[in-house]
């Protein structure tokens, strides 16, 4: 079991205790856990357990983490996708699994009340809460391009992050600037990790990301007090280690050379490969091709006939034009097609040698014998007496 890196979680109520207090039955809880196992990301430490009852035991032990959610230069798309999770649904998520203490677009409070809620949450859980950041942060002219309660976003982030145990940057904007940072980047917008240097940060890029990537990260933090293993872009490997192209349901069309050449053409209507329409799948790493959004079949760009635009890659989305094709660095399949049959049976060189030796010896011996037989039979070659 991963070590509790933060060492404070045991002070809080566990999810199990909380659910009992709220009158949730064991049956309902197990159903929730089973849904989690189906829907939540593969590779997540909690749901890789074999049975629902085991997952339930682990989750019941988790302390509900306090979460403060900040919005900066964003479209709220990441929050929108979170709102549409169905297993667990939003109520289960924010009430049972985490304790969402501050979220500007979800909370009922406004104005002064809202500011107080933020200050209270920070004070009560100082050094223990998880900060989720949605949106890019403008740095130009001391951050005057975005203000919250009269203060620049830059300052708010500094203040809230300084008390956080860990930071989760949700969406491409919070990860590395996203659309606000697209050329010519008028506000000098950047992601969280360009500003905050002294806190553990997990990037969950995507426009929007699959909500289960956030849920998986949050639950692991709640149960074990650790953050998932990440790649060099700080993306959790459990969700971002797959290449879209390699797992794409349209891959056979790519391999067969069947491409959609324009939207609505014959190939496009037949669901052929979107590579020539600018699909960034060959260079994009995310779980979209195997884990569609919100349990809706084909609810992801390529599934509805739109090329992948590489939203989980820092160098692709909002950097490379939408319809420009990307280079494919891996060997293309026609070079590496598996043969229809594999080679069966082996010919051993030693055996061939042995067979050759025996065959050669037999023929040689036969010839020698024929000479002997011939000479023994001729009347002049009677063997000498006494040779016995």
């Amino acid at each position: 079991m991963p070590k509790d890196n933060f060492g404070f979680l045991d002070e809080r109520e566990t999810i199990g205790q909380h659910l009992r207090r709220c009158g949730v039955s064991r049956r309902q809880f197990l159903e929730l856990c089973a849904k989690l196992m189906v829907a939540a990301p593969a590779g997540l430490a909690l749901t890789s357990k074999a049975r629902a009852s085991e997952v339930a035991r682990e989750i019941a032990k988790a302390r509900r983490p306090s979460v403060i959610w900040l919005h900066f230069q964003d479209c709220t798309g990441c929050s929108e996708t979170l709102l549409r999770t169905s297993a667990p649904d939003l109520a289960e998520l924010i009430l049972d699994l985490i304790s969402l203490d501050y979220h500007e677009t979800l909370m009922a409070a406004a104005g002064k009340q809202a500011e107080e809620a933020l200050q209270t949450a920070m004070k009560e859980n100082a050094g223990k809460y998880v900060l989720v950041v949605e949106g890019a942060i403008p740095r130009k002219a001391q951050g005057i391009y975005m203000k919250l309660a009269g203060r620049p976003a830059l300052q708010v982030l500094d203040e809230v992050a300084s008390q956080a145990a860990a930071i989760i940057a949700i969406g491409s904007c919070a990860s590395w600037g996203g659309i606000p940072s697209a050329d010519p980047n008028p506000t000098d917008a950047v992601g969280v990790d360009a500003i905050i240097k002294n806190k553990p940060i997990v990037n969950i890029p995507g426009c929007p990301p699959n909500p289960y990537n956030l849920l998986g990260t949050a639950l692991q933090f709640a149960r074990y007090g650790t953050l998932p293993e990440c790649d060099e872009l700080k993306r959790p490997k459990f969700a971002y280690d797959r290449n879209i192209h390699d797992q794409c349901p349209r891959r056979p069309h790519f391999d067969a050379g069947e491409f959609a050449r324009s939207f609505g053409d014959n190939g496009h209507r037949h669901g052929w490969c979107l590579y020539h329409l600018g699909c960034k799948g060959p260079q994009t790493h995310a779980g979209c091709s195997t884990r569609h959004f919100n349990e809706v079949v084909d609810a992801w760009p390529i599934g509805i006939g739109a090329p992948c635009f590489g939203c989980t890659e820092q160098h692709l989305a909002f950097r490379v034009p939408m319809f420009q094709t990307v280079e494919i660095h891996k060997a293309t399949p026609p070079d590496t097609y598996a043969p229809p049959f594999t080679k069966q049976g082996n010919v051993s060189a030693v055996a061939a040698g042995v067979a050759g030796l025996i065959g050669g010896a037999l023929i040689g011996a036969g010839l020698a014998a024929s000479r002997k037989v011939g000479s023994a039979d001729s009347p002049t070659a009677e063997p000498e007496p006494g040779k016995e």
Binding site: P339, F341, T342, K343, Q344, G345, N346, V347, S348, V350, A351, A352, V354, A355, I358, I363, G366, L367, A369, S370, R371, K372, V373, G374, S375, A376, D377, E382, P383, P385, G386, K387, E388
Partner: protein
């Protein structure tokens, strides 16, 4: 019959475990150990056989080629009893011994080769029989013929028993010999029928493989070609065995008879070659015969060996030159063996991705079985009255 005009067979006598016998027995012992290993570890672990080539060296050589080589008894019996050439009678017993050994080894090899030998007890149970199966015909024929061959040899054993110093054995010989001699006629008749049936059936086996067999070999005449070539191989085997035993046992070779066999081979070879070429022509495969790919080269090689053998057997003087006759017999056997290997392994292709070459274990088991056969032959002719004819000269010390 002219059975009384020629010299009676006598045991050779002498030391049994000479050095060659010991060396041969050692090879046979090694094969025995490997066979035990094969039954302990299974076919997959011990052989190169695979699903594409379930029939390998053991079938192609031990069974198909081995029994054809063992057709000496059949071929000579054809001469003696069907064509009524009584002068060849002295060749029969030695030929029967090689036949009996060859067929016993073929049966043993089948038992080693089949995947579930523990079900073999069902073979004689007629209510399990599939009467449309060529393989059943082959299996039953080989089992029966092996028994018939040993029964045909029984007078040799009983004659020896009759002169034994043990009274029980002597009584057995006295009672058994007349029975054996009386039943010999029927056994011989049966022994003519059975090889005719199963040697052609060995060819029929490959009829079933259809397009997997290369067109140069795949013909409905396969049974006939197998039968003709097995008789030729049988004659060849008798020539070689007769010359070698004369050489090693220092006896006068039966040059007349062996030369006569050489002459008997010629029409067979011409018939075989003619049928093969005409069949190829009728099926429109002569072009493929001269395509000079692997298959065409193999088929041409088979025929070339036979043509050279025919040339070597052309004149009476050549046939009476034992060394020359011996080489012709070798070529015959090589051609027949090649024809069988080609049909069962080279020209048989279960798919381009399958490959087979016998591994060392298979080769050593086959070699050991043959070594055991030769050792058994030597021991048998020393102990029992098999070989006829006088020693070439009186022994020096007698």
């Amino acid at each position: 019959m002219s059975a009384h005009t020629h010299t009676q067979p006598q045991p050779i006598g002498g030391v049994i475990f000479t050095r060659p016998v010991i060396i041969l027995a050692a090879f046979a012992g090694l094969a025995g150990a490997l066979i035990v290993w094969r039954f302990a570890a299974g076919l997959g672990a011990t052989t190169a056989l695979n699903d594409g080539y379930p029939w390998g060296l053991w079938i192609a050589f031990d069974v198909v080629t081995g029994t054809a080589l063992s057709c000496g008894g059949y071929a000579v019996a054809l001469l003696v009893y069907i064509l009524n050439k009584g002068k060849y009678h002295p060749l029969i017993r030695p030929a029967l011994v090689t036949s009996a050994f060859g067929y016993s080894i073929a049966g043993l090899s089948v038992m080693i080769d089949i995947g579930r030998p523990w079900l073999a007890y069902k073979l004689p149970l007629f209510w399990h029989w599939n009467l449309n199966s060529v393989l059943l015909e082959v299996a039953l024929c080989i089992i029966t013929y092996t028994i018939v061959l040993w029964l045909e040899l029984s007078p040799a054993f009983l004659e020896r028993a009759k002169s034994s110093s043990v009274s029980a054995l002597r009584r057995l010989g006295e009672i058994g010999l007349p029975i054996a001699r009386k039943s010999l006629l029927w056994l011989t008749a049966f022994g003519m029928l059975l090889p005719t049936m199963h040697q052609s059936a060995l060819g029929s086996l490959l009829l079933l493989s259809g397009p997997r067999l290369n067109p140069l070999w795949s013909t409905t005449l396969l049974p006939l070609l197998f039968l003709l070539s097995c008789i030729a191989m049988g004659f060849g085997a008798v020539v070689i065995e007769g010359s070698l035993s004369a050489l090693f046992l220092r006896r006068k070779p039966e040059t007349d008879m062996l030369a006569g066999l050489g002459s008997a081979m010629r029409p067979l070879l011409v018939l075989y070659l003619g049928i093969r070429l005409i069949d190829l022509a009728v099926r429109g495969q002569l072009g493929a015969l001269f395509a000079f790919d692997l298959y065409s080269v193999m088929a041409l090689l088979e025929m070339a060996l036979l043509v050279v053998a025919l040339v070597l057997l052309a004149s009476d003087a050549q046939r009476r030159d034992l060394g020359n006759l011996f080489r012709a017999a070798m070529l015959l056997i090589l051609a027949g063996a090649l024809y069988r290997f080609d049909t069962f392994l080279v020209a048989f292709s279960p798919g381009a991705h399958w490959a087979y070459f016998p591994n060392v274990t298979e080769i050593l088991i086959t070699a050991g079985l043959v070594a055991g056969e030769i050792a058994g032959y030597i021991i048998l002719i020393k102990l029992f009255p098999i070989v006829a004819g006088a020693p070439r000269r009186a022994l020096a010390h007698s």
